[in-house]
Amino acid sequence: MLNDLLHIGLTHFVVLSIALAGAGVATMLTKRNAIGILIGVELILNAASLNLVAFNHYQWRATPVTLAAKSEMLPGDKLIESPAAKPVTTPAKPARKAKPAAPEPVRVLRPAIDGQMFALFIVVLAAAEAAVALSVILNFYNRYGSIDVERADALHG
Protein backbone atom coordinates (compact mmCIF):
# COMPACT_ATOMS: atom_id res chain seq x y z
CA MET A 1 0.00 0.00 0.00
CA LEU A 2 2.67 2.46 1.08
CA ASN A 3 4.92 1.17 -1.68
CA ASP A 4 2.19 1.94 -4.22
CA LEU A 5 1.78 5.39 -2.78
CA LEU A 6 5.49 6.14 -2.97
CA HIS A 7 5.92 4.79 -6.50
CA ILE A 8 4.82 7.88 -8.38
CA GLY A 9 2.70 6.95 -11.36
CA LEU A 10 -0.08 8.18 -13.56
CA THR A 11 -2.70 7.79 -10.82
CA HIS A 12 -1.00 10.38 -8.62
CA PHE A 13 -1.13 12.97 -11.35
CA VAL A 14 -4.70 12.15 -12.33
CA VAL A 15 -5.87 12.50 -8.71
CA LEU A 16 -3.96 15.77 -8.44
CA SER A 17 -5.51 17.19 -11.59
CA ILE A 18 -8.98 16.07 -10.48
CA ALA A 19 -8.47 18.09 -7.28
CA LEU A 20 -7.23 21.01 -9.35
CA ALA A 21 -10.13 20.87 -11.79
CA GLY A 22 -12.57 20.64 -8.88
CA ALA A 23 -11.04 23.74 -7.34
CA GLY A 24 -11.29 25.52 -10.69
CA VAL A 25 -14.97 24.65 -11.13
CA ALA A 26 -15.73 25.67 -7.55
CA THR A 27 -13.90 28.98 -8.11
CA MET A 28 -15.82 29.65 -11.30
CA LEU A 29 -19.16 28.93 -9.67
CA THR A 30 -18.70 30.72 -6.37
CA LYS A 31 -17.16 34.02 -7.47
CA ARG A 32 -19.07 37.02 -8.67
CA ASN A 33 -15.90 38.88 -9.45
CA ALA A 34 -15.14 38.57 -13.18
CA ILE A 35 -11.40 38.23 -12.52
CA GLY A 36 -12.11 35.47 -10.00
CA ILE A 37 -13.99 33.55 -12.67
CA LEU A 38 -11.03 34.04 -15.02
CA ILE A 39 -8.72 32.60 -12.34
CA GLY A 40 -11.02 29.57 -12.08
CA VAL A 41 -10.73 29.03 -15.84
CA GLU A 42 -6.95 29.18 -15.56
CA LEU A 43 -7.03 26.48 -12.87
CA ILE A 44 -9.10 24.17 -15.08
CA LEU A 45 -6.78 24.74 -18.05
CA ASN A 46 -3.78 23.92 -15.88
CA ALA A 47 -5.44 20.73 -14.66
CA ALA A 48 -5.96 19.70 -18.28
CA SER A 49 -2.38 20.41 -19.30
CA LEU A 50 -1.00 18.61 -16.24
CA ASN A 51 -3.07 15.60 -17.27
CA LEU A 52 -1.80 15.75 -20.85
CA VAL A 53 1.84 15.91 -19.80
CA ALA A 54 1.41 13.12 -17.24
CA PHE A 55 -0.25 10.83 -19.79
CA ASN A 56 2.52 11.64 -22.26
CA HIS A 57 5.16 10.79 -19.67
CA TYR A 58 3.72 7.63 -18.18
CA GLN A 59 1.51 6.19 -20.86
CA TRP A 60 2.61 7.17 -24.32
CA ARG A 61 6.34 7.52 -24.04
CA ALA A 62 7.24 6.62 -27.60
CA THR A 63 5.83 5.97 -31.05
CA PRO A 64 7.20 3.31 -33.39
CA VAL A 65 8.32 4.95 -36.64
CA THR A 66 9.60 3.41 -39.86
CA LEU A 67 12.53 5.26 -41.37
CA ALA A 68 13.86 4.82 -44.89
CA ALA A 69 17.44 4.52 -43.72
CA LYS A 70 19.38 4.31 -40.52
CA SER A 71 20.93 7.72 -41.24
CA GLU A 72 17.53 9.39 -40.65
CA MET A 73 17.58 8.53 -36.99
CA LEU A 74 17.37 11.48 -34.62
CA PRO A 75 18.93 11.81 -31.18
CA GLY A 76 16.69 10.07 -28.66
CA ASP A 77 15.48 7.44 -31.13
CA LYS A 78 15.92 3.83 -30.13
CA LEU A 79 16.43 1.13 -32.71
CA ILE A 80 13.98 -1.75 -32.45
CA GLU A 81 16.07 -4.81 -32.97
CA SER A 82 13.56 -7.58 -32.76
CA PRO A 83 13.31 -9.71 -35.93
CA ALA A 84 9.62 -8.94 -36.25
CA ALA A 85 10.47 -5.32 -36.83
CA LYS A 86 12.30 -5.93 -40.07
CA PRO A 87 10.06 -5.76 -43.16
CA VAL A 88 9.72 -8.87 -45.20
CA THR A 89 12.15 -8.75 -48.10
CA THR A 90 11.46 -10.27 -51.46
CA PRO A 91 13.60 -13.27 -52.35
CA ALA A 92 16.67 -12.68 -54.44
CA LYS A 93 15.60 -12.24 -58.02
CA PRO A 94 17.90 -12.78 -60.94
CA ALA A 95 19.80 -9.54 -60.89
CA ARG A 96 19.15 -7.64 -64.09
CA LYS A 97 20.53 -4.34 -62.93
CA ALA A 98 23.17 -4.62 -60.26
CA LYS A 99 21.99 -1.89 -57.88
CA PRO A 100 24.21 -0.54 -55.13
CA ALA A 101 23.06 -1.83 -51.73
CA ALA A 102 19.85 0.13 -51.05
CA PRO A 103 19.47 1.59 -47.53
CA GLU A 104 17.39 -0.78 -45.53
CA PRO A 105 14.31 0.61 -43.75
CA VAL A 106 14.67 0.59 -39.98
CA ARG A 107 12.12 0.74 -37.21
CA VAL A 108 12.80 3.05 -34.30
CA LEU A 109 10.98 4.07 -31.14
CA ARG A 110 10.73 7.84 -31.22
CA PRO A 111 10.08 9.66 -27.93
CA ALA A 112 6.54 11.05 -28.01
CA ILE A 113 6.08 14.73 -27.27
CA ASP A 114 2.47 15.20 -28.34
CA GLY A 115 1.10 15.69 -24.83
CA GLN A 116 3.66 18.39 -24.19
CA MET A 117 2.81 20.07 -27.48
CA PHE A 118 -0.87 20.19 -26.58
CA ALA A 119 0.01 21.65 -23.20
CA LEU A 120 2.18 24.23 -24.96
CA PHE A 121 -0.77 25.30 -27.11
CA ILE A 122 -2.94 25.43 -23.99
CA VAL A 123 -0.48 27.88 -22.42
CA VAL A 124 -0.57 30.09 -25.52
CA LEU A 125 -4.38 29.96 -25.76
CA ALA A 126 -4.71 30.72 -22.04
CA ALA A 127 -2.53 33.81 -22.45
CA ALA A 128 -4.64 34.97 -25.41
CA GLU A 129 -7.86 34.25 -23.52
CA ALA A 130 -6.66 36.19 -20.48
CA ALA A 131 -5.72 39.19 -22.63
CA VAL A 132 -9.13 39.35 -24.34
CA ALA A 133 -11.06 38.65 -21.15
CA LEU A 134 -9.23 41.36 -19.25
CA SER A 135 -9.82 43.95 -21.95
CA VAL A 136 -13.53 43.04 -21.90
CA ILE A 137 -13.54 43.28 -18.08
CA LEU A 138 -11.80 46.66 -18.27
CA ASN A 139 -14.40 47.91 -20.71
CA PHE A 140 -17.18 46.60 -18.51
CA TYR A 141 -15.66 48.33 -15.49
CA ASN A 142 -15.41 51.62 -17.36
CA ARG A 143 -19.10 51.39 -18.23
CA TYR A 144 -20.63 50.10 -14.99
CA GLY A 145 -18.03 50.99 -12.36
CA SER A 146 -17.91 47.39 -11.10
CA ILE A 147 -16.76 43.94 -12.18
CA ASP A 148 -19.63 42.08 -10.56
CA VAL A 149 -20.84 39.69 -13.25
CA GLU A 150 -24.40 39.95 -11.90
CA ARG A 151 -24.54 43.46 -13.25
CA ALA A 152 -23.91 42.35 -16.82
CA ASP A 153 -27.60 42.00 -17.55
CA ALA A 154 -28.03 44.49 -20.39
CA LEU A 155 -29.05 41.64 -22.72
CA HIS A 156 -31.39 40.15 -20.11
CA GLY A 157 -34.87 39.92 -21.64
Binding site: L10, L50, L74, D77, M117, F121, L134
Partner: protein, 217 residues
Protein backbone atom coordinates in the same frame (compact mmCIF):
# COMPACT_ATOMS: atom_id res chain seq x y z
CA UNK B 1 13.34 -23.27 -60.20
CA UNK B 2 11.97 -21.47 -63.23
CA UNK B 3 8.52 -22.97 -62.74
CA UNK B 4 8.34 -21.94 -59.09
CA UNK B 5 9.18 -18.28 -59.53
CA UNK B 6 5.87 -17.11 -61.05
CA UNK B 7 4.06 -18.58 -58.03
CA UNK B 8 6.43 -17.25 -55.43
CA UNK B 9 6.74 -13.71 -56.62
CA UNK B 10 3.14 -12.52 -56.31
CA UNK B 11 2.77 -14.12 -52.89
CA UNK B 12 5.86 -12.49 -51.49
CA UNK B 13 5.14 -9.20 -53.19
CA UNK B 14 1.70 -9.23 -51.64
CA UNK B 15 3.04 -9.91 -48.18
CA UNK B 16 5.69 -7.22 -48.30
CA UNK B 17 3.27 -4.60 -49.62
CA UNK B 18 0.79 -5.51 -46.89
CA UNK B 19 3.47 -5.05 -44.30
CA UNK B 20 4.41 -1.67 -45.69
CA UNK B 21 0.85 -0.46 -46.15
CA UNK B 22 -0.64 -1.57 -42.87
CA UNK B 23 1.76 0.35 -40.68
CA UNK B 24 -0.80 0.72 -37.91
CA UNK B 25 -1.13 -3.02 -37.58
CA UNK B 26 2.63 -3.27 -37.64
CA UNK B 27 2.87 -0.65 -34.92
CA UNK B 28 0.49 -2.63 -32.79
CA UNK B 29 2.47 -5.80 -33.31
CA UNK B 30 5.63 -3.89 -32.54
CA UNK B 31 4.13 -2.56 -29.32
CA UNK B 32 3.31 -6.02 -28.09
CA UNK B 33 6.74 -7.24 -29.12
CA UNK B 34 8.34 -4.49 -27.08
CA UNK B 35 6.24 -5.28 -24.07
CA UNK B 36 7.07 -8.94 -24.28
CA UNK B 37 10.78 -8.25 -24.53
CA UNK B 38 10.69 -6.93 -20.98
CA UNK B 39 12.36 -3.66 -21.93
CA UNK B 40 9.45 -1.81 -20.41
CA UNK B 41 9.93 -3.30 -16.97
CA UNK B 42 13.67 -2.64 -17.07
CA UNK B 43 13.16 1.00 -17.99
CA UNK B 44 10.48 1.40 -15.33
CA UNK B 45 12.89 0.01 -12.77
CA UNK B 46 15.65 2.32 -13.98
CA UNK B 47 13.53 5.46 -13.81
CA UNK B 48 12.25 4.48 -10.38
CA UNK B 49 15.75 3.96 -9.06
CA UNK B 50 17.16 7.13 -10.59
CA UNK B 51 16.43 9.45 -7.68
CA UNK B 52 15.54 7.02 -4.92
CA UNK B 53 13.39 8.40 -2.12
CA UNK B 54 13.87 11.99 -3.31
CA UNK B 55 11.41 11.54 -6.16
CA UNK B 56 8.25 10.87 -4.12
CA UNK B 57 9.19 13.62 -1.68
CA UNK B 58 9.53 16.10 -4.55
CA UNK B 59 6.23 15.03 -6.02
CA UNK B 60 4.32 15.20 -2.75
CA UNK B 61 5.74 18.65 -1.90
CA UNK B 62 4.68 19.99 -5.29
CA UNK B 63 1.30 18.27 -5.20
CA UNK B 64 0.53 19.52 -1.68
CA UNK B 65 1.42 23.07 -2.72
CA UNK B 66 -0.79 22.81 -5.81
CA UNK B 67 -3.83 21.45 -3.98
CA UNK B 68 -3.57 23.73 -0.94
CA UNK B 69 -3.11 26.90 -2.96
CA UNK B 70 -5.81 25.94 -5.49
CA UNK B 71 -8.35 25.40 -2.72
CA UNK B 72 -7.16 28.56 -1.00
CA UNK B 73 -8.28 30.38 -4.16
CA UNK B 74 -11.76 28.91 -3.71
CA UNK B 75 -12.03 30.01 -0.08
CA UNK B 76 -10.42 33.45 -0.26
CA UNK B 77 -12.67 36.39 -0.95
CA UNK B 78 -10.09 39.04 -1.72
CA UNK B 79 -9.11 39.16 -5.37
CA UNK B 80 -5.51 40.09 -4.55
CA UNK B 81 -5.11 37.00 -2.36
CA UNK B 82 -6.64 34.92 -5.10
CA UNK B 83 -4.04 36.10 -7.58
CA UNK B 84 -1.26 35.42 -5.09
CA UNK B 85 -2.49 31.86 -4.57
CA UNK B 86 -2.76 31.49 -8.33
CA UNK B 87 0.94 32.40 -8.49
CA UNK B 88 1.75 29.58 -6.05
CA UNK B 89 -0.42 27.10 -7.97
CA UNK B 90 1.07 27.94 -11.36
CA UNK B 91 4.63 27.90 -10.00
CA UNK B 92 4.27 24.49 -8.40
CA UNK B 93 2.61 23.12 -11.54
CA UNK B 94 5.71 24.29 -13.41
CA UNK B 95 7.75 22.32 -10.87
CA UNK B 96 5.65 19.24 -11.58
CA UNK B 97 6.31 19.71 -15.31
CA UNK B 98 10.03 19.57 -14.54
CA UNK B 99 9.31 16.42 -12.54
CA UNK B 100 7.65 14.93 -15.64
CA UNK B 101 10.76 15.58 -17.78
CA UNK B 102 8.97 18.36 -19.66
CA UNK B 103 11.66 20.96 -19.07
CA UNK B 104 10.68 23.19 -21.98
CA UNK B 105 7.06 23.24 -20.89
CA UNK B 106 8.02 24.02 -17.30
CA UNK B 107 10.12 26.95 -18.44
CA UNK B 108 7.34 28.21 -20.70
CA UNK B 109 4.83 27.84 -17.89
CA UNK B 110 7.03 30.02 -15.71
CA UNK B 111 7.73 32.60 -18.40
CA UNK B 112 4.34 32.89 -20.10
CA UNK B 113 1.92 31.95 -17.33
CA UNK B 114 3.59 33.25 -14.20
CA UNK B 115 5.44 36.07 -15.91
CA UNK B 116 2.76 37.07 -18.41
CA UNK B 117 -0.77 35.95 -17.73
CA UNK B 118 -0.55 36.42 -13.99
CA UNK B 119 0.91 39.92 -14.37
CA UNK B 120 -1.96 40.66 -16.74
CA UNK B 121 -4.44 39.51 -14.10
CA UNK B 122 -2.74 41.64 -11.45
CA UNK B 123 -2.95 44.62 -13.80
CA UNK B 124 -6.63 43.88 -14.24
CA UNK B 125 -7.05 43.84 -10.47
CA UNK B 126 -5.22 47.15 -10.19
CA UNK B 127 -7.25 48.82 -12.92
CA UNK B 128 -10.64 47.62 -11.73
CA UNK B 129 -10.36 47.21 -7.98
CA UNK B 130 -11.78 50.15 -6.13
CA UNK B 131 -12.28 49.44 -2.42
CA UNK B 132 -16.10 49.15 -2.46
CA UNK B 133 -15.99 46.67 -5.35
CA UNK B 134 -13.07 44.48 -4.36
CA UNK B 135 -15.14 42.01 -2.36
CA UNK B 136 -18.19 40.77 -4.11
CA UNK B 137 -19.89 38.52 -1.59
CA UNK B 138 -22.20 35.83 -2.88
CA UNK B 139 -25.34 34.41 -1.39
CA UNK B 140 -25.30 31.29 0.77
CA UNK B 141 -27.56 29.46 -1.69
CA UNK B 142 -25.13 30.20 -4.49
CA UNK B 143 -22.25 28.77 -2.46
CA UNK B 144 -24.23 25.57 -1.80
CA UNK B 145 -25.28 25.20 -5.42
CA UNK B 146 -21.78 25.94 -6.75
CA UNK B 147 -20.12 23.50 -4.35
CA UNK B 148 -22.68 20.86 -5.24
CA UNK B 149 -22.01 21.21 -8.97
CA UNK B 150 -18.24 21.15 -8.37
CA UNK B 151 -18.59 18.03 -6.21
CA UNK B 152 -20.70 16.27 -8.84
CA UNK B 153 -18.16 17.10 -11.54
CA UNK B 154 -15.27 15.95 -9.36
CA UNK B 155 -17.10 12.72 -8.54
CA UNK B 156 -17.78 12.19 -12.24
CA UNK B 157 -14.08 12.61 -13.03
CA UNK B 158 -13.12 10.13 -10.28
CA UNK B 159 -15.65 7.58 -11.57
CA UNK B 160 -14.39 8.07 -15.12
CA UNK B 161 -10.80 7.49 -13.99
CA UNK B 162 -11.72 4.36 -12.03
CA UNK B 163 -13.59 2.91 -14.99
CA UNK B 164 -10.79 3.67 -17.43
CA UNK B 165 -8.62 0.79 -18.62
CA UNK B 166 -5.33 1.81 -20.16
CA UNK B 167 -3.08 -0.17 -22.48
CA UNK B 168 0.38 -1.03 -21.23
CA UNK B 169 2.74 1.85 -21.88
CA UNK B 170 5.31 1.82 -24.66
CA UNK B 171 8.82 2.61 -23.59
CA UNK B 172 11.59 4.74 -25.08
CA UNK B 173 15.23 4.57 -24.05
CA UNK B 174 15.30 8.23 -23.08
CA UNK B 175 13.09 11.19 -23.78
CA UNK B 176 15.78 12.88 -25.85
CA UNK B 177 16.14 16.62 -25.83
CA UNK B 178 12.63 18.06 -25.32
CA UNK B 179 13.57 21.44 -26.80
CA UNK B 180 14.88 19.94 -30.03
CA UNK B 181 11.94 17.54 -30.23
CA UNK B 182 9.43 20.33 -29.62
CA UNK B 183 11.04 22.49 -32.28
CA UNK B 184 10.96 19.63 -34.75
CA UNK B 185 7.33 18.86 -33.91
CA UNK B 186 6.30 22.50 -34.25
CA UNK B 187 7.70 22.69 -37.77
CA UNK B 188 6.47 19.29 -38.94
CA UNK B 189 3.55 17.57 -37.20
CA UNK B 190 2.11 20.66 -35.57
CA UNK B 191 2.87 23.16 -38.33
CA UNK B 192 -0.78 24.06 -38.96
CA UNK B 193 -1.72 24.66 -35.29
CA UNK B 194 1.53 26.58 -34.85
CA UNK B 195 0.68 28.94 -37.70
CA UNK B 196 -2.93 29.30 -36.56
CA UNK B 197 -1.79 30.14 -33.05
CA UNK B 198 0.55 32.77 -34.48
CA UNK B 199 -2.32 34.41 -36.38
CA UNK B 200 -4.53 34.11 -33.30
CA UNK B 201 -1.98 35.92 -31.16
CA UNK B 202 -1.83 38.76 -33.67
CA UNK B 203 -5.63 39.02 -33.76
CA UNK B 204 -5.80 38.90 -29.96
CA UNK B 205 -3.19 41.62 -29.63
CA UNK B 206 -4.97 43.97 -32.01
CA UNK B 207 -8.43 43.07 -30.69
CA UNK B 208 -7.54 43.46 -27.03
CA UNK B 209 -5.92 46.82 -27.68
CA UNK B 210 -9.01 47.90 -29.62
CA UNK B 211 -11.53 46.74 -27.01
CA UNK B 212 -9.62 48.12 -24.04
CA UNK B 213 -8.92 51.57 -25.44
CA UNK B 214 -10.66 54.47 -23.79
CA UNK B 215 -13.37 55.88 -25.98
CA UNK B 216 -12.91 59.62 -26.53
CA UNK B 217 -15.88 61.61 -27.62
Amino acid sequence: VTSRQPFDRPTDGGVSSTVFRDTKLQDRQQTTATQESGLFQIAQQASADALGPVTPALFFCGAALVVVSAWAIVFSSSIVRMSFFLLLTLGSIAGLFFFLEAELLGAIQLIVYVGGTLILIVFGVMLTGKPPHTRTAIRRSEVVLGSLIALVLTGGLIVAWLRLTLPVAVDAANQGNPVAAAGRAMLSTYLAPFEIVGVLLLVVMVGAAHIARRKTQ
